[in-house]
Subunit: 402 residues, 2 copies
């Protein structure tokens, strides 16, 4: 029995509401320019700290020690799904990131325009990072390509990047990258990685052959490569699993998409955090579980901008009382992964967790920082266990066994 099946088998319904406030890339690590503090330690956040005094705290390990997660595994873990068993492919994630709503029968791939020489050998894997507008123009050259047994959609992402979407029946995403991953090699033909994927590989090759033919005369972006062929994993919905009517308050498409994979309703929630909170209030009576995604901390971390990340933590803190006033039975504040400004990327460091509920044992925490949470009573657990813990604190899990 997988973990989510165990939780699911015990789930019962009641009126208790759960709110997860996910601060993307929240966790930092010691920064030598700021007294070896993290962003969360450097920031002033009196309102969250006040919550800490009636909370239990701990740490979440997104996947396993040392593993730096992409956004896909990081979110699936928080939704109670083993992020190693339920892998979301690059093609699907890229599609979610631009707001596409893939069907379970679609195959998706991430495409890159690239530059090849007159022998077809790749000399620039990103075609000089052409502007998105040129990407659109090139895609327009390809949009009327027809291939038997599949409809093909092409969607620009940014710069040289696009999404290839194959729609059809009996498609199979077990296909190796055509991208050789290096300059000095030719794009590879699509190759089936499983017997059932032969037809899909043939469809891809038929498309690519025509596409390369049409791109041949162009300057710069005169070829393409594809990678991350994938299909939506067969993920059970929150309602099916836990009996939760669930809603996502996210601004960026990828996080809306990730929430959609577990069947959350995606609420139109404006463009700012206060907009998100107003939407929360407006829909408060209609759902049991709210997932609020706060993006800015991750972006600043990726940029290596320590002080901006600090600033966004402080901004968030100043708004937090409008969640607290709604008095959810369970409020969890955490991150999906770390994005330390000192590393300018996602990292493997476990993420602080603050859990507020009348069923918590108040563990003496008086602030929300890595230092406090690393000593918190909840200890350090894999993120996939959070969902069960939240349901438990909402008294939504029955006793296991007699």
């Amino acid at each position: 029995m997988q973990l989510h099946e165990l939780y699911s088998s015990l789930a019962i319904r009641n009126d208790n509401k759960l709110v997860v406030l996910l601060i993307d890339g929240l966790r930092g690590t010691s920064h030598e320019d700021y007294g070896y503090m993290t962003e969360l330690e450097y920031a002033t956040h009196p309102n969250i700290d006040r919550l800490a005094s009636r909370s239990a705290t701990g740490m979440l390990t997104p996947v396993l020690p040392g593993i730096t997660p992409g956004s896909g595994p990081a979110h699936l873990g928080l939704f109670g799904l083993d992020p190693i068993s339920f892998n979301i492919g690059r093609g699907v994630l890229e599609a979610l990131g631009i707001g596409l709503v893939p069907e379970p029968t679609d195959v998706l791939a991430r495409g890159n325009f690239c530059t090849v020489d007159d022998k077809g050998v790749i000399v620039d894997r990103r075609a000089g990072r052409i502007p998105t507008q040129i990407c659109e123009q090139r895609l327009n050259l390809l949009r009327d390509i027809r291939v038997p047994r599949s409809d093909i959609e092409l969607h620009a992402v940014q710069d040289h990047r696009f999404v290839l979407r194959l729609k059809g029946t009996d498609l199979d995403g077990n296909i190796a990258n055509t991208d050789p991953g290096t300059v000095g090699a030719k794009p590879k033909p699509a190759k089936a990685l499983a017997p059932g994927a032969e037809t899909t590989a043939n469809i891809v090759n038929a498309f690519v052959d025509q596409a390369l033919d049409r791109l041949k005369g162009e300057s710069g972006a005169n070829a393409l490569v594809l990678r991350g062929f994938s299909m939506l994993p067969n993920i059970p919905s929150f309602y099916e699993l836990y009996g939760l009517r669930s809603a996502a308050l996210a601004i960026y498409p990828m996080y809306k998409g990730l929430a959609r994979t577990v069947g959350m309703d995606i609420l139109d929630c404006g463009k700012t955090f206060p907009d998100q909170l107003r939407t929360l209030e407006a829909y408060w009576d209609r759902y049991d579980y709210f997932f609020i995604h706060y993006k800015y901390t991750d972006s600043c971390g990726e940029d290596g901008d320590f002080l901006s990340k600090v600033n966004h933590i402080e901004n968030l803190d100043s708004c937090i009382d409008s969640i607290v006033r709604l008095d959810p039975a369970v409020l969890a504040i955490t991150g999906d992964h770390s994005t330390p400004a000192s590393l300018k990327s996602h990292s493997w460091h476990p993420v602080p967790l603050l859990l507020v509920s009348s069923t918590c044992r108040r563990d003496g925490s008086t602030a929300f920082t890595e230092t406090v949470c690393a000593k918190g009573a909840l200890g350090n657990m894999e993120s996939k266990y959070l969902m069960g813990l939240l349901l438990a604190h909402a008294l939504r899990l029955e006793k296991f066994g007699a």
Copy 2:
């Protein structure tokens, strides 16, 4: 997917160097004669303590809570291999311990000379712990025994103990002990535990029959029993798994042997800890990962000699700066298991871990003791996760998932 396969699938190469300083049997437990302190708490170790202030600390559970590991599982865990999946048999470990280099096709067993009465019933399982010299003499009586389909080697270990090594093709180590494990019973015939092991069992029995015949007239050590039949497990190398050029600096044969099972180069490193450290410096540019094994703490723990163990910790501390000066990207100081002087044996207690890297969050630790590490930010994790954590801190693991 097994854990080492997950780490392996994400491993990338760079120039960052890793050093693991393994203090064998490091961990102690409260000793009533010394203010209920452990050896590590009682010892003075200012140099390691200074490192603590720029480290993150935690605890490693060698196998699982309550499990006391032998040296085999304890080391395999630290090398990133699940110590339950990869079992090193007693015969193989005994061979490694005397410096043999088993081939993957060899079958090895631990042998004991014993004493039987005139009905062949064991009356002393260790033949009065005969001196090693007598053990050698008895083995000389047996060395020209010939058996079809296998070459047989016999190597004295210590006292009544020896190693039986069968060399051949198609040998199989799935053979039950001939040692009944008690006095009052006869040595059992070797019995195949799997269909493929019948031939090997016949070889063993042919050898044992001749051996018992030759020993019959001797006094004291007049029979033998065999146990722990085993072959080298099929263990992937560090280079293959993690892309690490790795070297072991160990003085005792068994630890060289354990390091050899994961493909480390075994450096000739003298007879003392300062010798080991000079070797480290000499080979610094040639490897990515260094495993330094410090034995003396374990031996004193086994002897129940609290103060000697304290003394060896203090000696080690006085030399530590020559590692620090090399400025490894990641330095981990830990143990393979506990050997509390109060228990005079290995124990199950989790072992303190100190991890120094610029990518650490300094967790406020100011000393290296069980008390500090049990509250450290890294928490308590199974030893098998250490390898991934070290690779992560050396920025040698790619992101998992999109």
